[in-house]
Symmetry: C2
Subunit: 259 residues, 2 copies
């Protein structure tokens, strides 16, 4: 496997960063995951725009002109002969002096890597057994709106799903409302409308979430942005999750309850 | 500078980790900072114990017997001839498959590094100008109790202090109570008692915080664990912050107000 790291195409074993990179020390960075199909990465524009807004907020300079990023990604797909893949962009603040102050870190790290797509039935969306995680997502203000490298809550939730032999974990906010799954946005169907929690406080504005909403508009399906508890989720007419890697997955159970 | 990385003593430029280390990708790790003086690192026991509890919680195996860690640190101090320094322990989950699941990551990364101590007057504690950060610390449950590598809130708060030409930033919780500074625990003096917020929800149980409390007990000073707002902080008889790197710093102003 070849990866792109700071302007060079290197083999995976040579893809190393300084142990003093602030990405490693503090999770001081951002990432995006894009779906690659038939040799093309989808929705570069939206993913790069979300990353750019996060980089603006964190004041991490974007190395290379953003247009060049797409070229690096395209070359990576060709070099690895991986026309079907996931493409991950990782931007960290790079190495700096010890301590939280980002003042002395001026050389950001850019990593672009390809990864296998989770196996899936090409006809039908995956059917997931979901558990409710004990991890609560707190409203951390603006930070929640960006795909940062501070992902321990999601790692813990996902580990709970693994331990329960489930496919995914549902996360609640500190008020007990269902907000998202460890790696995707939450949707449910009720009274003929597609519903999803509003993007606010704790909810990442997913690129695939936007695709689902666009599709509903196109199909003339009513959409409602609203909140609910896991108990209320059991009373709905269907639950699904949207995420880049596989598009949409149906939730067929929540804990011991069938959905 | 020589650093310890996964069993080897290497020069700083060779201290590299995989770009697929989950510490770099998700902040999936823990750290501790110890004060080294006269060639000895202080309070190994407490720091290692906090790290061990965090590693248990995150299910990151500790590489090498914990007793050996102290030997690595001692050797590092000798090799670098740095009898006065800060010693940082960083433990990450190491490289694994793409995605939040930690299932396939089985080779944790251990980094031990030395850093310069912030310059200080040996007679008097530093006098800090403090600002109130716009970043709110959310109660994220058990995670708050460990010194994890998810530190973007602290990085942002510290950057606000830098931008205001201040020495430190005070963080509030989502209820508006003052909880800690970007890198230390908060104390104030009121009605003859030393006061500090209780360790719960959002407050990291600092090793130096415990030293301050022990000292107050020894001196027979009354201690109260309680909460207050930044406005109330202005009415107290003195405010200070405890942190490993310099011990105790006095806060002399909060924003435009003198303390």
């Amino acid at each position: 496997m070849i990866v792109f790291l700071n302007g060079q195409f290197v083999t995976e074993d040579r893809a190393v960063v300084s142990a003093f990179d602030r990405g490693f020390l503090y999770g001081d960075g951002l990432f995006e995951t894009l779906r690659v199909a038939n040799g093309k990465a989808f929705r570069w524009g939206q993913h790069l725009e979300r990353l750019r807004r996060g980089a603006d907020f964190l004041k991490i300079p974007m190395p290379f002109p953003p247009d060049a990023w797409r070229g690096f990604g395209d070359e990576l797909i060709v070099r690895n002969q991986m026309p079907d893949a996931l493409l991950r962009l990782t931007l960290s603040r790079g190495a700096g002096a010890r301590g939280y102050s980002p003042r002395d870190a001026r050389n950001p790290t850019l990593l672009i890597s390809l990864h296998a797509v989770p196996p899936a039935d090409s006809e039908n969306p995956p059917r997931w057994r979901v558990i409710t995680s004990s991890v609560r997502l707190a409203a951390t203000g603006p930070l929640s709106q960006f795909k940062t490298c501070n992902k321990l809550s999601q790692v813990l939730a996902r580990a709970e799903a693994d331990a329960a032999n489930a496919d995914e974990a549902l996360l609640l906010d500190t008020d007990g409302h269902a907000v998202e799954s460890s790696s995707g946005n939450l949707f449910w169907i009720e009274q003929g409308a597609v519903r999803t929690p509003p993007v606010a406080d704790t909810i990442l504005p997913g690129v695939t979430r936007a695709v689902v909403l666009d599709l509903c508009h196109t199909l003339g399906l009513p959409i409602l942005e609203t909140r609910l508890t896991p108990g209320q989720l059991l009373q709905t007419d269907g639950v699904f999750v949207s995420l880049t890697s596989i598009g949409v997955a149906e939730a067929v159970s929540l804990g011991r309850e069938t959905l």
